[in-house]
Amino acid sequence: MNTLANIALRNLTRQKKRTVLLGSAIAFGVMIVTLINGFAGAFSANVSENFADLMAGHVFISGTEKGADDEELSVIRDDSALTAAVEASGAPVRYVTRRSSFSGTLIFEGKKLRTNIDGADLSKETFLRDRLLLKEGSWDSMSDENALILSEKIASRLNVGVGDLILVQLETVTGQANVGEFRLAGVSYDAGIFGQMISYANLGYVNRLIGLAPDEYQTMGVMLDGLRHTEAAADAIYGRLYGGVQLFERGAKDEDGAVTPFQALMRQQKKESWQGVKYRLFTINEVLSQIEQIVAALDTTAGVILVVLFVIIMVGITNTFSMVMFERIGEIGTMRALGVRRGGVRSMFLYEALFLALGGAVAGIALALVAMGVISLFDFGMDSPAFIIMKNGHLSFFLPPLRAVGNVLIIAALTLVAVASPAGKAAKLTPAEALRTQK
């Protein structure tokens, strides 16, 4: 190792208390930032995975049929081509779901509330029972044709209880006004901002309400082995469908002020004209593209915290190294007399700061990893209001390695900036000045 770097490393052990204090300050800052980065890293995957469970799929195919008077009906009447494409795609498919849904107004004792209701074949979608825990009622009651599961918040706002009959006003796929009646079979725990949006009913009853035949539906959901397969599977299925059925173009651009790729796709659909059924294929990532904005905001917050913490820590480092320079002024003079150049003196201080920063940063990342491990052991349960951001009821973390490396580099750079001034002053001293000033 370079002699001056070796001396710099050993110099860190001279004032152990001071080194430990400075190193701890750096480690603390890095730990906080790494925890936020780790949380943000897992946030997107957790939300998408949980939402995929609630929506019953990673990849979705919906059909839109043009009627004789150019009206658009959201329906899949014959899914044989779709099923064949999914099977032929080679995608790691866990199961395929078929759902219809509508946005309607629930009415109970004069109280009204607009919400989305998903019709699902609950005899097949047994996984939904594991994902959506009920606070009241039971899944067994869903055997009633008009049974309904509402989230805790919606049930509370309507002031309904299990067994109550709820009137629903809606429009059929052809735009006809219709009414129906649901019996509340269960109340699910609130699943955060996303989970509140969905209520569940039987597919057959929903189809009847919206004017579809019992064997028809609106959206096919393809549940994969994991979120990571989503885009590849979507491409493969799209490739298999291409040429066999009418398809909307994938990857529509964010035009006309569309906020998400999904919105862009919907706008594209409105502009186009066709005969028969045209299918659109979209993924959970497109639906939840705003999650990426949340992740970006979290990462930006972490970056701001990193910089603010380090501006404070940098003041401490600058002061400490100014003091260190004064304490070692005799040594600087001796080294200069013995043949160390100005650049060598500067490098020695910079090396010392760099080792301190790297030591602190590595310790901070190690502490953060331990903290992540400990926090992820806690089981908050699937009934936690924050379950949507968790993985099976546990807070989970994923620290992208490049982000960790980036943080270490930022800290190393900021520390070097903090030490640049005292190191420069030490380098500028003439040997005579340094030797005269020594204690």
Binding site: T334, G339, V340, T430, P431
Partner: protein, 244 residues
């Protein structure tokens, strides 16, 4: 011309708003292999002159010649290289590097500069120096584990490790008891004889003055005496007229 020559050297320090003239036009010449004492009371300019001879400080006026070459026009990097290649330093407060052990402190100057010494040759030479200064048992010890005399021995070995032509010693016995000071002086005199290294001391110590080949006395920044031992006439280098 000698190995060191000072020609009308003046040094003025700013001290707040006041200018202090520490050296007021000094000229002298030192022959290779001499054991020289620059003596005088505190404030007479001994250390300032030693610093200028050692190229750690530059004169305000005049010229310092090292081995016949003027040094006032050299930049910092050139001065640093010349110091490293030509000079060794022994300080009153030993000035060892606290985080390095005895062996490493002595090795340190060899790790600087561009000339690289072979590993075996280096080890042999450092071991020899350690033996010469009587610290064979202490080679792994850090400076804070050594006595004052031992530290000064390390400093002597460090000053000699690059085989310099000149060793500058600023009050080398001032922080030592008289017995240890005596031993250190004997050691330096022995090295001076064996290696023909020029030793230049700044000192109050009468013992150094007594064993010096060449004595330069200063008072208030001026040379008051400059003679070789046993000679009355002012000392001069071969081929030079005497300056006093």
């Amino acid at each position: 011309m000698g190995i060191v020559e000072l020609e009308n050297v003046r040094k003025i320090y700013p001290l707040g708003k006041v200018q202090v003239e520490a050296v007021k036009g000094v000229s002298f010449c030192i022959e290779k292999g001499d054991f020289i004492s620059i003596a005088g009371p505190s404030g007479s300019g001994k250390t300032t002159i030693l610093n200028m001879v050692g190229l750690v400080d530059q004169p305000t006026e005049g010229e310092v010649f090292l081995d016949g070459k003027p040094t006032s026009k050299l930049n910092d990097a050139e001065l640093t290289r010349l110091r490293h290649e030509t000079l060794g330093f022994i300080f009153q407060s030993f000035n060892l590097i606290p985080v390095l052990n005895v062996w490493e402190n002595i090795e340190f100057p060899l790790l600087l500069g561009k000339t690289r010494v072979g590993k075996d040759e280096k080890k042999e030479w450092i071991d020899h120096l350690i033996e010469e200064v009587g610290l064979s048992e202490w080679r792994k010890h850090k400076p804070n584990e050594l006595s004052g005399g031992q530290r000064q021995r390390v400093a002597i070995a460090r000053a000699l490790v690059t085989r310099p032509q000149i060793v500058l010693a600023d009050e080398p016995t001032a922080n030592l008891d008289s017995a240890t000071g005596e031993q250190i002086l004997e050691l330096m005199k022995k090295i001076n004889r064996e290696l023909e290294t020029t030793f230049i001391f700044s000192t109050h110590d009468a013992r150094i003055v007594d064993i010096a080949d060449h004595i330069i006395r200063l008072r208030d920044g001026l040379v008051t005496e400059n003679r070789r031992r046993g000679e009355e006439a002012p000392a001069a280098c071969q081929g030079e007229s005497a300056r006093a």
